[in-house]
Structures are given as C-alpha cells and as structure tokens.
C-alpha cells in the first residue's frame, strides 16, 4: 500500500487511527503491529513471511546475546548468524537475478532461471533489524523482552517500506512508552500533508518529462539534460516527500523519526550532499560499515579504500544492477577527490552560488548512472549529455505539458531558495500551513484524478 492512494488515505488510515485511539495503551503496539502487517501484506501477503522470518531471527539472536556475558565467543557467532540471515535474504531476493543473468551473459548458457520478485522495502527493514542486533552486540542497547515491541519496531508501517531507517536505540523508549496529543497529531498531519504535496504536485508532475527523455533512443544534449534535471527534481521531491509523510505519521503516533533530508541540493560539495541526502542511510553506512572497516583511523590510503567501498556497497544496496554499482563508484570517487583536496570541493574557488550550482550538476550527473537500465543505456545517456548525439529538440512530455513546464522552473526555485520541510515545521507560520492544507486538498484531488505513479524508492 502506498501513502498516496485512496486505500491508504480513506480506508486504512481512518480505520487505523480510530482503532489506535480506542484500544487501551497496553495494546497499542499490538494494534500498530497488526495494522503494519495488513499494510505490508496488502498486495502480497506472502511477503509478510519474509519480514516475520527476519524479525524472529533477530529477536531470538538478541535475546540469546543478552543472556551471554560480554566478550563470550558465542555472542560473535550469534551476531554473524543475524548478519548472515539478513544479508542472505537480501542476497537471495535482491541480487540472485543479477548474479544469474551475469553468469548467463559470461558463459552464454541459458540457466532457465525464473526471476525472483523483490519484496517491497526489504532493504530498509533488514538494515533496521540488523542494526538492532549489532547495537545489542556492542552493548549500546539492551535486548527487548517483548516480541510485540520488537516486531512493532521492525514493521512499523509509517517507515517500513522506504525509511527513514530508524535505529532501535533511538526509538526504543518511544516503542515502550510514548505520549500522544492533539498537538502532536496536528504537527504530524501538517508534516504528512507537506510530504504529500511534494510527492503528488511536484514529483509526479516531473515524472513524465524524465520518463519521456530517458525513453528516447538517441537523446540530444537538450533532451538529456532536461530529462536529467527533471529526474533530479522528481527523485528529491518523491523521496523527501515520502520521508516527510513517514515522519508525520510517526509524529501522529508519538514517534520522533530522524530527519532524512536537509536541502541537499543547496550543498557546496558532494561530501556535504551526502550529509544532507538520505541521512538515515548515509549515517547507517557510516556507523555499521565505514567505521567498522576502520574509518579514517588507519591512514590515508585505507581511508580512501573504506570510503570507496562504503559508497560502492551503498550503490549496490539501491539495486541489483551494474549502473547502480557505477553510481556508487562515482559518488565514492568524488568523496575521495574532495578528501584529497583537503575536504574541499574541487571547485572551491568559485563564488558560493556557482559552488552550489557546480555541486548540483556533479551530483545530478550521477543520476544518469542511477536511472540507466543497463550499461548500454548509460552509454546512450552519456552521449546525449556530452552532446555527441546532437543538440536535440525541446523535450515534449507525453502529457501534462503545460503544467509540467510551468512546474519545472518552480521546482528548481523551491529546491534552491525555499525553506525545507523541517524549517517550515519549525516556524509553523499560519499562512504557510494554511496554504499547505489547501494544496493538500488539491493534491488529493490530483491523486484521485491521475493514474498511479509509485514511489521511486519502493524498488530499493
């Protein structure tokens, strides 16, 4: 189920909130867990079993770890079990197809393989669940006794399928005990509405332009860059909008989820972008991959290796596709180059507005790898982006022409000059909030009128 659907907004959410408000406080987590299972299994009930397996393994592992004293060898074995179980699930459901197809390509053999469907959100909840066992192993958090509380943490529907990736140590107090109020409900609703507007009225309006451009067999310079910029806007408003909705729903239920975006396109270096883009993933990778690899504690060369490895795996996390790996490598390369340059961007001498623009272009160029279907598509896109396929024409999206072209510069202006969701919520100006309430009504009408465009991050 997606947030921007009739079923969620007008069936699931009102029924869930009604139940949540009337069940006794002690049963709220059970109600939330039950609703999350319905939410997740809405279209594919069998996928719930995978989540249940991951949850049970990590719950049991953490309980067993808790029963052993620190430093006992059994604890490490248990941790390895948890990591293997979660990574095994990810490897099977996410990477088996890639490995088999690559093997087929290299060997020329037909392995009669039937592609495995990727369960929605598996990358998010396995990381979330795994971070719990790692934190228990490290002694950062005590294992919970309640299976319901832990399952509730793993499966919580607001952030289940596309983050933010929440760590148990950050929310375990709230899982056990949290407060509710009409004010929090309103704050959450406001945040949800802001995210909804971003997704439906900006991201979805940009989508046809990006899709049309990337579908061209030989896009020219203008078409390629128009599509790429449109995609950069689409993915930002799509994903940050989803995060806002998740955070808002969390607030309604008394949870404080971490901020996931902080105006990343206003950054002055790629390093800074990664501090402001998908923050919950980048901090997860930092804490559970980069630092365990040694971080910057073992000399410059090892630091570059760790940085590149982290970004490479981060790219692979996004999908089983070689262009994703290249995208991770591209981002890792820029991070290494900036580190070599004294943690400054290569274009540090430019005036500030041009630094921001140059950073945006460097980061956005990376989306050409992210969005490509395969390596030959990368080649096609790059030929267009470097002008090797001619100048091209004005890109005409197949529909919503006028609205899309009106939204294009507006979305760019919002990205570079407008305050982000967190700032809007901090200031909470009556006029602005009223404006978003009205836009939300328009967005709901648009959602009901338009055909469905799924969230981009659902496939990761």
């Amino acid at each position: 189920m997606v947030f921007t659907s009739f079923a969620f907004l007008f069936l699931f959410l009102p029924l869930f909130l009604a139940g949540y408000s009337i069940v006794p406080a002690g049963l709220r987590n059970l109600w939330l867990l039950s609703a999350s299972v319905v939410f997740y299994g809405w279209e594919r009930p069998s996928w719930v079993l995978i989540m249940v397996a991951s949850t049970l393994v990590d719950y049991a592992v953490a309980r067993l770890m808790g029963a052993k004293e620190d430093g006992r060898p059994g604890r490490k074995l248990l941790l390895v079990t948890s990591i293997l179980a979660n990574m095994g699930l990810l490897a099977w459901f996410k990477y088996a197809n890639l490995l088999v197809h690559t093997a087929e390509t290299w060997s020329g053999a037909d392995l009669a393989w039937h592609d495995i469907a990727l369960p929605v959100g598996i990358s998010f909840y396995t990381f979330q669940s795994m971070s719990y066992t790692i934190d228990v192993y490290r002694g950062d958090v005590k294992p919970t006794r309640s299976l319901v509380d832990f399952a509730c943490y793993v499966s919580m529907f607001p952030q289940l399928v596309a983050g933010p990736i929440v760590r148990y140590r950050d929310v375990h107090d709230q899982v056990v005990r949290r407060s509710h109020s009409v004010g929090l409900l309103g704050a959450g609703a406001s945040c949800f509405m802001i995210g909804f507007v971003k997704k439906v009225l900006v991201a979805d309006v940009m989508a046809p332009l990006a899709t049309a451009g990337f579908a061209l067999p030989q896009p020219g310079l203008v078409e390629s860059w128009t599509a790429l910029v449109a995609y950069s806007l689409q993915i930002y408003f799509d994903f940050s909008g989803y995060s806002d909705m998740a955070i808002g729903l969390g607030l309604m239920l008394g949870f404080r989820f971490p901020c996931n975006f902080d105006s990343p396109y206003k950054s002055q270096s790629v390093t800074e972008v990664w501090r402001r883009w998908h923050i919950s993933l980048s901090t997860w990778l930092r804490d559970y991959l980069y630092i365990p690899l040694g971080g910057n504690r073992h000399g410059e060369a090892r630091t570059y290796f760790n940085l590149a490895t982290t970004m490479l795996l981060g790219g692979l996390w996004h999908g089983a596709n070689w262009p994703f790996v290249l995208w991770g490598a591209y981002q890792g390369l820029w991070l290494c180059l900036e580190r070599m340059n004294g943690r400054k961007p290569l274009h540090a001498r430019l005036p500030m507005p041009l630094r921001v623009l140059a950073t945006y272009l460097v980061f956005t160029f990376g989306w050409s790898l992210f969005v490509a279907r395969d390596l030959s598509h990368v080649q096609t896109l790059w030929r267009g982006l470097f002008g090797l396929s001619g100048l091209g024409e004005t890109l005409v999206s197949p529909k919503h022409d006028t609205i899309t072209y009106a939204m294009f510069p507006l979305a760019i202006a919002i990205v570079f000059f407008a305050p982000n969701s967190a700032a809007l919520m901090r200031s909470y100006r009556p006029l602005v909030i009223t404006g978003f309430v009205l836009l939300f009504v328009v967005a709901v009408a648009q959602m009901l009128a338009a055909s469905h465009i799924p969230f981009l991050y659902f496939r990761f």
Binding site: L11, L13, G183, L184, K399, R426, Y428, V441, L448, A449
Partner: protein, 399 residues
C-alpha cells in the same frame, strides 16, 4: 490529551511553539482526521456513485488474494464508487478544463469545443508495415468465408474523426501526417485483395467542403451524427446498385420512417473526462457547466408495422433478411438508418459495441444457415482506429 506536547527531537533545536501555533496544529490535526474519515462515513450514509470508471468489487478467491489482484480490485472499486472521488476529482477536472489545462490518458482536449479520443492520435507505422500481409490474409479469409455461403461482402471502414476534422486539434498536438493517411492503408489492403468497399472518407471530405455547417460527427463523442450515418447509408445503397446486387435486396413495405427527433445526450468523451457526471444521468441533471458539454442527439426513429397496423421496434435478428450488418458501436444507430435508406430488412445480430472489429463478423459467420438465416449481402463496418489495434493482432477470423 494535551496540546502542550513538545514537538520532539526530530525538529532539532525547536523553540517551543507559541499558543497560537499549538492551537493551529490541533485544528489542523482534527481537520485532517475528519477529512480522512470522510469517505468511510459517506459510505455509511450515501449510495455508491455510478461513474463510467466504476469497477466491480473483488472476487475473494485465495489466488486473487495471493497475487494481490483482489486488493487492487478492492482499491479501484472503493475509489471509483466513492463520493469523495466523484466530487474532488470532478471539481479539479472541471477547474482544469475551464482554464484549458485538463488532459487525461484517454481524451485530448481540442479547440472549438472538440474532444478527441487519444487513441485516434496514435501512429504505429512500423507495426502496420510489419502486419500488412497478415491483414490481407484475414481479408482474403473473410472473402472466402462469405463466398462459400453465397454471401457478397461489402466493407465500410469508418474514418476516425481526426481524419475528417484535424483542424480542431490543439496547437501543440498537430496530427501526424502519416496518421491522417491511415485510411489509405485500409483502402490499399481492400483493393489489393479485391474486397468490395465504400470510400467513406472521400464522401465525408467532399460533404464537409460543400456543407461546412452540417457536421458528420459529434464534437465531443467519437461517433458519427445522423448526417454521417445517412451519408454512409446512401453510399452503401449506391454501391449495392452499382454492383448489380439490388435485386438481392427485397423491399419491405412495412418499414416506417418517422419524423426526426432530438434530445440532449452525454457525449462519450465528456464521460471519460472525470467530471462530476454519473452514468445514465437524466438530461436535466448536472450543473450548467456540464449541460454545456452535452450534445444534441438527433435521430430518425424507424419501426416496422405489424399485421395489425401497429408500428413497433425492429428486432436485431431478422432470419429472413437478405442484408446483414455487422460492426461496432457505430452500427448501433447506423443499422436503423441503413434499414430506412434501403427500405429493406437488415439483420443486425452482428452489431456489437464490445465485439470491436471481428466480434460481430464472427457472430454472423456462426449463424449462417441456421434457422433459415441466409443473407445475400453482408455489410461489414469497422472503425479506422482499430486498424492499429485489433488488426495488428488478429491471426484468423475463426474464433
């Protein structure tokens, strides 16, 4: 419950909201919940809407639940029968329509109050070229199947409105010249196989030039007007005479052609725009804006006099008719006008609004020779746009 709850760490170093902001937040929260509860509450008090987009409720079978189709069907059903959808979508689309920004996947908004079925703007030259021989084989099969039953085939390809009226397309969407020439492809195939046919396009273009005020199509419906039907019926009559088939068509003196009538109707393309319009809406319902989009439907009632002298409707199945008509929804009203123009009985069992190009033809083939059904002429109508749809996929005329 309290409205003085701190907003939490998520917002970082958030200064405490002032009283006014807390009240605003509380009001927003209540408003939001009330808004989301609107659809379930309306289901309890109001009957479901009847829109063209209505979808049936899901079938609760285990396999459908497993593959998700049951839940998707439930979502669509709930969404399309909800008053929330009806009003919110309708108001937005009406506003966008008024300012000229409405567009959806099925309908292209033209100029001068014209709407176009989006499918009629598609152009698939590669697929057409690749399937030319297959289409001609199907036409040969049609000729052979009818000739084997001593039936003469006469094909009536109906040109899309955009072929006759491309001038009302929006400026940013000019018709592809190749698409406008699709009718030539049909005529070429028919001529190559030697299938008797009438060239409706030429007749329509000539009529349009001579009588620019007499519109052959509706402006906001895909179908043809009474003028278009009568002109085509004349073409068929003339072609029958030209080919010397007239003696095969016995006149029926009991056919009664009455006075032309008219009433407003909801055009099909308007119904597809997602406005606040229920199906089977009475003529006097709807806002002034919606009524402004209705079309005047003119028709010529045609009946048959029974032995007692009473005039009644003509049954679709006429086993003793020597002319049979098969075709699409275009034939639903055209069939009667053909009866009126020929002054003869015409069997219309092959007229099927859902059968598309081949459903009606197959229905006639199946009935030949049964219950004394032995027509001598079969008029086969199909629409131009299906030459890029059904005709690309058909393998055989047999079921």
């Amino acid at each position: 419950m309290t409205t003085q709850e701190p907003i939490g760490e998520w917002f970082g170093a958030v200064p405490e909201w002032r009283r006014g902001q807390r009240i605003l937040a509380a009001a927003t929260g209540i408003l939001f919940v009330a808004f989301c509860a609107l659809a379930p509450l309306l289901w309890l008090v109001a009957r479901p809407t009847r829109m063209i987009s209505n979808a049936p409720p899901p079938r609760w079978e285990w396999s459908a639940i497993q593959d998700g189709s049951a839940m998707r069907a439930l979502e669509t059903h709930a969404k399309e029968t909800s008053w929330v959808t009806f009003h919110m979508r309708g108001v937005l689309n009406e506003a966008l329509f008024r300012i000229g920004l409405l567009e959806n996947d099925q309908v292209t908004i033209g100029r001068d109050g014209w709407l176009y079925f989006a499918e009629t703007l598609l152009w698939k030259p590669m697929e057409l070229a690749a399937t030319r021989e297959k289409r001609r084989a199907v036409l040969r099969q049609a000729m052979e199947a009818t000739a084997a039953n001593d039936v003469r085939l006469l094909v009536v390809p109906v040109p899309d409105r955009v072929t006759i009226h491309p001038e009302h397309l929006p400026p940013l969407r000019p018709a592809d010249p190749g698409r406008l020439g699709l009718y030539d492809e049909i005529l070429a195939d028919l001529s190559a196989v030697g299938v008797p046919h009438v060239d409706v396009r030429s007749a329509f273009l000539a009529h349009k030039a001579a009588h620019p005020d007499d519109e052959l199509y509706f402006r906001r419906d895909t179908h043809w007007s009474l003028s278009g039907q009568l002109l085509t019926a004349d073409l068929v009559k003339n072609e029958i005479a030209k080919r010397g088939w007239a003696p095969l068509v016995p006149a029926c003196p009991d056919i009664v052609v009455e006075q032309t009538m008219r009433r407003p109707m909801v055009p099909g393309l308007v119904a597809m725009l997602g406005l606040r319009l229920e199906v089977d809406v009475p003529d006097d319902r709807g806002s002034a804006f919606l009524r402004g989009l209705f079309e005047d439907w003119t028709w010529r009632p045609i009946g048959i006099r029974d032995p007692s002298g009473r005039v009644g409707p003509i049954p679709m199945e006429q086993d003793d008719a020597k002319v049979a008509l098969c075709g699409t929804s275009f034939s639903e009203s055209f069939g009667l006008q053909l009866i009126g123009t020929l002054g003869a009985r015409v069997d219309r069992r092959g007229v099927s609004s859902t059968g598309r190009s081949f459903g009606g033809f197959r229905a006639v083939l199946r009935s030949l020779g049964k219950n004394g059904f032995t027509p001598r002429i079969l008029v086969w109508e199909f629409v131009q746009r299906e030459y890029q749809a059904d005709w690309l996929e058909v393998g055989s005329l047999r079921d």
